[in-house]
Each structure stands twice: as C-alpha cells, then as structure tokens.
C-alpha cells in the first residue's frame, strides 16, 4: 500500500511504468516481497549467499596444493596478522585458506546429503501419506525404528561399516535424516490429499504416481522447503561433529570440525586456532536457521502473528 502511494505520487515517465502498477503480481513475486519484509531472514540469506559464494570461488581465492594442505613448519602457530589474516595452524598452514576450502566440503556434503534424504523422504513419506492405512502403518513403524536412535549415532554406524569417504558420509548423513523427512512429507501430503483437485484428477483417471507427483507434492512444497533449510544446517553440523570425533573428513583435507579437533591440543597457548573454524560453523548454522524461520513465516501465513 505504502509503496503504491509513493509510486502514484511520482509522475510516470513511460506507458509501461504506468500500467505496471495495475498488473497483478505473481505468487512468487508476492512471496518474495513478503520475504523481504522479514529483516532477520534477509540477513540469513545474505550471510548464506556469501558463504556459498566463498565456497564456489575457493580455487580462485587460494591455492589448494600450495597453501591449504602444504606444511610450513617455519610459520607454525602464528597469531593473526598482515600475512596470515587469521593466523596459522600447528603445521604452519594458513587458517583462512583452510576455512575457505572447509566451506566447500561442508556445503557440498550438507546439501547433497539433504538431497539424498529428500528423495527417500518424498518416496516413503509421499507413499505413506497418500495411501494411508496399512501401507502407512508399515512404513511409519519402520521409520520409528530409525527414529529411536539419535541421528549422529545412525550416521556413525553406517560410516563404521562402509568407511568415511565423502560419498559414504553423504549417504550416511542423508539416510540418517530420511526418517524425519518422511514424517514431514507424510503429514504435508495427508493435509493435501483430501482436496477437491486431487479428487478431480482421480476422477478423470490419472494414475496414482501422477497425482502424487503433479498435484499433491507441488502443494506440499512450503513446509518441505522450510525443513530442507533447517536440515541442511543440521547436516553441516553433523559433518563437523563427525569430523571432530575423528570419524568424518580426515586430515590433511580441511574441514571445520577436523580443524577444531587438531587445533584443540594447542588452544591453551594459541586460542586463535579454534576461533575461526568454530565461528564459521556457527555463522553457517545461524544463517540457515534465520533463513528457515523466515521462510516459514513467508510460506505459512497462518503462523504469522
């Protein structure tokens, strides 16, 4: 309203601009404007975008072989300064450079792990929620078994068996989040499946998988997107945690959790060594939490107060 009023007060220069004010906004546009009003969510989005940009640009920002994993004992444990902005670690490696490459690992595994659990969750949760009855009972009881263990422990067991390559870590974390995802998808699907358009699709003879894929899931997208954001945060935290206890990404490859683990021994005399990686994890999780909360407010107007 306010924006329109100020726009109307200004003289229009072109015809296009004049008609623009009467055009109906698309749903996406409207959601985007609603999202922009949520300041904390925008802050979250900006921080996360910066972290993603740093991760993507890592090869141009620093040199992996020459700096990130190369020992340089002469410069070990230096405090932050002009040459090394965040100081160096116990093997003389630049902490900032390692942090930048750490972002790459965390984001890559975090996001792809959640894609794994999204696929599993959509299939299992979608099936359970759409058909209900016995199928629902069987799938959800099976999920309950996995939910009876904390997700870190489930991931631990999988990694223990198959080893801690990046692919295995991704699958382990993805599978450990899948039961929770299935629940989210299931409840969203159950809320949608009784709607008239679903019935209409069924009455013209659409197949079940088509109804689920074309009519049911697109209408559940809101709560799913919110959960994806929050679970990516969780997945990144899990990778860091696993690496911290020595079962995740192995040194010398840089990862925020293993940087903390190896820096621990020296932190009494050189506290800077554990500051940067910790802050990196903290801000990534914080950004995703802010973003997730903001998306929830945007996509689910019922929760707005």
């Amino acid at each position: 309203m306010e924006a329109q009023a100020t726009a109307a007060a200004r003289p229009f220069t072109t015809k296009k601009e004049f008609y623009a004010q009467f055009r109906k906004k698309s749903i996406a546009q409207e959601l985007w404007l609603r999202f922009l009003k949520n300041k904390t969510a925008v802050i979250g989005l900006v921080i996360f975008a910066i972290i993603v940009a740093v991760a993507i640009l890592a090869p141009w920002l620093t040199d992996y072989k020459g700096v990130v994993v190369k020992m340089n004992i002469a410069e070990r444990l230096q405090a932050p300064g002009a040459q090394h902005w965040l100081g160096t670690d116990e093997l003389g490696r630049d902490i900032l450079a390692r942090m930048i490459y750490g972002a790459r690992v965390s984001l890559l595994i975090g996001i792809s792990a959640i894609l794994v659990s999204l696929v599993v969750g959509l299939v299992l949760g979608g099936t359970a929620g759409y058909y209900g009855g016995k199928i629902d009972a069987v799938i959800m009881r099976a999920m309950d078994v996995f939910l009876s263990l904390p997700d870190v422990l489930l991931a631990l067991a999988i990694i223990a068996a198959f080893g801690n390559t990046k692919l295995n870590l991704t699958i382990a974390i993805g599978l450990s989040f899948a039961p929770k995802f299935s629940r989210v998808v299931r409840s969203a699907v159950m809320g949608v499946r009784g709607n008239e358009y679903v019935e209409a699709a069924r009455s013209i003879g659409a197949l079940d998988w088509r109804i689920i894929a074309r009519h049911v899931l697109p209408n559940c997208i809101g709560p799913i997107i919110v959960q994806v954001t929050l679970y990516v945060a969780n997945a990144i935290l899990t990778i860091a945690a696993l690496s911290f206890i020595g079962l995740g990404i192995q040194p010398p490859a840089p990862e925020w959790g293993n940087m903390l683990a190896s820096g621990r021994t020296y932190m009494r005399d050189f506290p800077h060594i554990v500051m940067a990686p910790g802050l990196a994890i903290f801000f990534t999780i914080l950004a995703l939490n802010l973003l997730g909360d903001g998306l929830r407010d945007t996509l689910d107007p019922r929760l707005k107060h």
Partner: protein, 315 residues
C-alpha cells in the same frame, strides 16, 4: 493406565530386534573384522581363522544374530572382542558417568530455559525479552563441541575456576560438561516455552480470568502455564535422543569415559558386541523417555487422561 504402559513397553521389543539386526548386518559387512584388529601386525590367516572361530564369527550371520538375541534376552550383552570382558560390566561403569552429565544438563536446561521463556513471553517487548530471543537463536545455532572448547578456554585456562577434563572433582567437574551438552537444548526449550506461552496469553480464557480479577501471577502460572507447557514437554522428550548424540561430543571435548566415548572406541575397533550394547541401551533410553513424556501429558492434560480411561474401559 498400567495396561497402556505395558503395551508401550512391549512395542519396544520389535524396535530393539530390528535395530540390533540392522547394526549387526551393517557391522558384519565391514571389511576387516575383529580378528584383524585384535591381532594387529601379528595377523596371519591361520591365527585369524582361529580367533574368528573362537569368537563365533565363522558362523552364518543369522545364526550369530539369533545367538546374540538369545543371550540378550537373558540379560547377557556378550563379551567384548577387544577387552574380553563382559560388555555389561563396561557399560554399567560408563553409563553412570553419562547419566550424571545428561541428568545435570537436563536439570540445568529445564530450570533455566522454562523460567526465561515464561518471563520473556509476558513482556515480549522488553530488553530482557529481546536479549533472550537473541540468546535463544544463538543457542540453537551453536556447535556444542566448539562451545565446550570456548568454556574450557575461559573457565579453566584463563580463570582457573573449573576443571577442564574428567569427572574426578565431583559437582565442580560437572558444570562445564552440563552447560555444553545442554546449551542447544536449553535454547530450544526457551524458544518453545516463549512462543507457546505467547499463544496461550492471547486466548479468551486468559482475558476472562483477568476480567474476573485473578491476580496476574495466578493468571500466568496457573491459567496460562498449564496450557502452554505441552509443546515444551514435547520438546524436552523429543530431544533426549539428540542429547544422547551430543554426549559423544561432550565426552570427547572433556575427556570423560562415558557411553559416547565407548561407542566411538568400539566402532573404531570393530567391537560389535560393544557397539550393539551401547546402541541398545541408548534406544531403550529414548523409548522410555518418549513414554514418560506421554505419561506426563496425561498427568497435565485431563482431556488426554480421559482418553486413556475410555480406552481401558473399552478393552
């Protein structure tokens, strides 16, 4: 009610069966079994075969599994492959340490999180309340293993007030691990209490209570709180699992010999009986805490209590 509790406990049995089977299967696929770990550099195929026969690893997986379950039903968690001592003895020592940390973390969280949540909901625009929200948001985003390191740096290294490792100094050594383990949990409890309390305060019955002259204290603590506590209790119960996951990290940071460390060590040494024992205990703990949450629901909410009563009468 008793019937309900028994039914819930019986429902735990299939969960434990499936869970143990999955872990059993996963660990048996692992390349390099316990014999290679036990023998280390002295490994020869003959010695390995001898050890495997001794441990029963040469039998088919299903036979091993049923053997394990049979023993478990008799309260026998088996022998550790590595220490050759009963797993149960190891578990019971470690379990006590872990229980101390978990219980003190829970007490801390509930006794700090709920009051802050309540008071920040009653005055949502005050500085205190805004501060509590920022704190809550930071709390849920904090990686607890990093928090633990920071606490050690501040309170042990710099100020020298509290010990940085082990549990040998009684209550004093519990303080930092409890804060570390419970930090996310506390923030979560606080945020949930705050939002459900704000929801409750807006309801019509609160206006009615105020209109008929109930004191503000009674309105908040009697009328609103009883209705607002349900989501908080859900969060408390649901997160016991997460708390147990956090135990692994907290025990690593503070070098405490507990269940979490035991699990990681056992995984590294391919000590299947030990891994299984730890996971079984953790699964049982999670299931029982979920059951307790459901019972507390019934205690607080008369509507749910009535449901149980109706079910019992029908049956």
């Amino acid at each position: 009610m008793a019937r309900y509790i028994i039914r819930r406990l019986l429902a735990l049995i299939p969960v434990i069966l499936v869970l143990t089977f999955i872990v059993f299967a996963i660990l048996s696929w692992t390349p390099g079994d316990a014999s290679t770990i036990i023998l280390g550099s002295e490994y020869t195929p003959e010695l390995g075969a001898k050890i495997r026969a001794e441990l029963g690893l040469d039998r088919p997986l299903v036979v091993q599994y049923f053997h394990y379950i049979w023993n478990l039903l008799h309260g026998d968690f088996g022998m550790s492959y590595v220490t050759r001592a009963p797993v149960f003895d190891q578990l019971s020592v470690r379990l006590a340490n872990t229980a101390w940390i978990v219980i003190s973390a829970m007490i801390l969280c509930v006794s700090v999180g709920i009051p802050i949540g309540i008071s920040s909901a009653t005055k949502p625009n005050s500085i205190f309340s805004q501060g509590a929200m920022v704190f809550g948001l930071m709390g849920v985003s904090m990686p607890i293993f990093w928090l633990g390191l920071l606490l050690i740096l501040l309170f042990s290294v710099k100020l020298g007030w509290l010990p940085s490792s082990g549990l040998d100094n009684g209550l004093r050594s519990l303080v930092l691990p409890a804060i570390t383990l419970g930090f996310n949990y506390m923030a979560n409890i606080m945020r949930t209490t705050r939002s459900s309390m704000m929801e409750a305060i807006r309801q019509d019955f609160i206006r009615t209570a105020r209109a008929k002259g109930v004191s503000e204290h009674d309105v908040i603590y009697d009328h609103a709180l009883g209705n607002a506590l349900m989501p908080t209790i859900t969060i408390i119960g649901m997160n016991v699992g997460t708390l147990l996951g956090g135990v692994v990290l907290t025990e690593t940071v503070f070098s405490i010999p507990g269940m979490g460390r035991l699990l990681v060590e056992a995984i590294n040494q391919r000590d299947t009986p030990c891994v299984l024992g730890t996971l079984v205990i953790m699964a049982i703990t999670v299931a029982i805490s979920n059951l307790i949450v459901d019972l507390i629901y019934a205690y607080i909410d008369p509507r749910i209590r009535a449901q149980y009563g109706a079910k019992a009468r029908k049956a």
